[in-house]
Symmetry: C2
Subunit: 247 residues, 2 copies
DNA sequence: GAGTGGTCTAGACCACGGT
DNA sequence: CCGTGGTCTAGACCACTCA
């Protein structure tokens, strides 16, 4: 192990608290501490990096703002574990027209490993010819098809998903990404459009062809901004309600 | 004027920096300084309220986080003036299908002062029978109708809008709300649905009745969360693209 | 060069959680 | 009780802006 003082060897043009924040963020990303773990106390960090308490606090403030850790007075500072339900409500923005948010059950229709088509390659920022996992998934509420989803994931991080039994796929994928693949989704970017159902989508959604469908295109990203998932979901337009808070 | 020290007479259960933040926020809301004005320097505030520099900084940090002020090194701290274009891109989330964001021109079709219908009353949290301003507005790009908007505003704050010449209404309403009515929009909440155009909407949007239209319902709020505007916009579904960042 | 915000120090004391 | 994070002090020095 290192000595009790561990000087920051980073870009000295940056403020100390930034260097410390980056150092800690790097170590969290490298799983030095896992989600739910305690990181060293503020006074411990003060000693270890030979900086003042205020500097440590500012570094941790930044990590809290970025959602990487959570403080708990009297206990310590913990690496944040995204909660199942909150990640549901953070990313599941559709409600039934009556306003309730039901969690639709899901069924994987297809799973394959293939070379990334050019559109996927550029969206996920992959090298040419890199492999991707492609999932087709149907989400159903009370026997009514609600969404048909096409999901693309870089095989470099998600290849394990090819080995999970199809029946073991959970309703919520993001907790599984974290537990099975060690990949945490931190943010996402969505684009909504409306189109008329083609023959194939109409069949899967049990709609007459030409019915309006909502298309939600989502790119989900890690804490460092790396795109991890590209997802395109389609559902009958008359059954959806999409809610957003703008700040 | 007050003496050079002006002790905080607020809830002493709250941290000092919170009390100072609230004190400054109250004075900003009461227009002691107008948008664009300098507030007193940090050392001035230190003297005036007899607190340490770190406490003043934390109070101002909070105001910055809430979007009330902006710091500028070497110059000072200014009451924030929402910029025209940023407020445009903060709240105007539609793009043409080709991806550009054009600012549609706008024309007020109708303006009236009436008692709030119950739905408007509860959304804007008004007292029974309170008056509201209702605007109907058409937004047009290159002679093509893009959006038909129905806008409801509490007359208590927006009655002046009844006196502005209809031809003087600008393309962007939020800067006008600020300049003419002193009301700043800080956040909003939007809900999207899809419906089929009825006869009236179809006529205004120059579409065949029954064409899918996107409906965007927005409640826009002040910094303290008071609902200030309720707006319902409708546009042809096949021409819209709605983009959102989720954090 | 005077004045501003930005960073940093080296502590003190308090409130809370668990033993 | 001890260790944790939360608040607060009373400064110092730096980087930037503007006259």
């Amino acid at each position: 192990m290192s000595a009790s003082t561990d000087p920051l060897q980073r870009d000295t043009r940056l403020p100390l608290y930034q260097q410390l924040r980056d150092e800690l963020a790097t170590q969290i990303a490298a799983h030095r501490w896992r989600p739910g773990d305690l990181i060293p106390s503020e006074s411990e960090l003060t000693r270890q990096f030979s900086v003042a308490t205020g500097t440590v606090r500012k570094a941790i403030d930044a990590l809290v703002a970025d959602g990487l850790v959570e403080r708990s007075q009297g206990k310590g500072t913990f690496v944040r574990r995204p909660r199942f339900d909150s990640s549901l409500f953070r990313f599941f923005r559709f409600e039934s027209v009556t306003g309730e948010r039901r969690i639709p059950e899901s069924r994987i229709l297809k799973r394959e490993l293939l070379s990334a088509p050019t559109a996927v390659q550029s969206t996920l920022r992959l090298a040419k010819g890199e492999k991707v996992v492609r999932l087709m998934r149907l989400r159903v509420v009370e026997y009514k098809p609600l969404l048909i989803e096409e999901i693309w994931l870089p095989a470099s991080r998600f290849a394990v998903l090819m080995d999970v039994a199809l029946t073991d796929y959970p309703t919520l994928l993001y907790p599984m990404y974290e537990q099975v693949c060690g990949q945490m989704i931190a943010s996402a970017s969505e684009t909504l459009t409306v189109e008329l159902a083609n023959a194939s989508h109409a069949r899967l959604l049990q709609l007459p062809p030409g019915t309006p469908v909502i298309v939600i295109e989502r790119v989900a990203m890690a804490y460092d901004g790396t795109p991890l998932e590209w997802r395109r979901s389609r559902g009958p337009a008359d059954h959806f309600r999409y809610h957003v808070e703008i700040r």
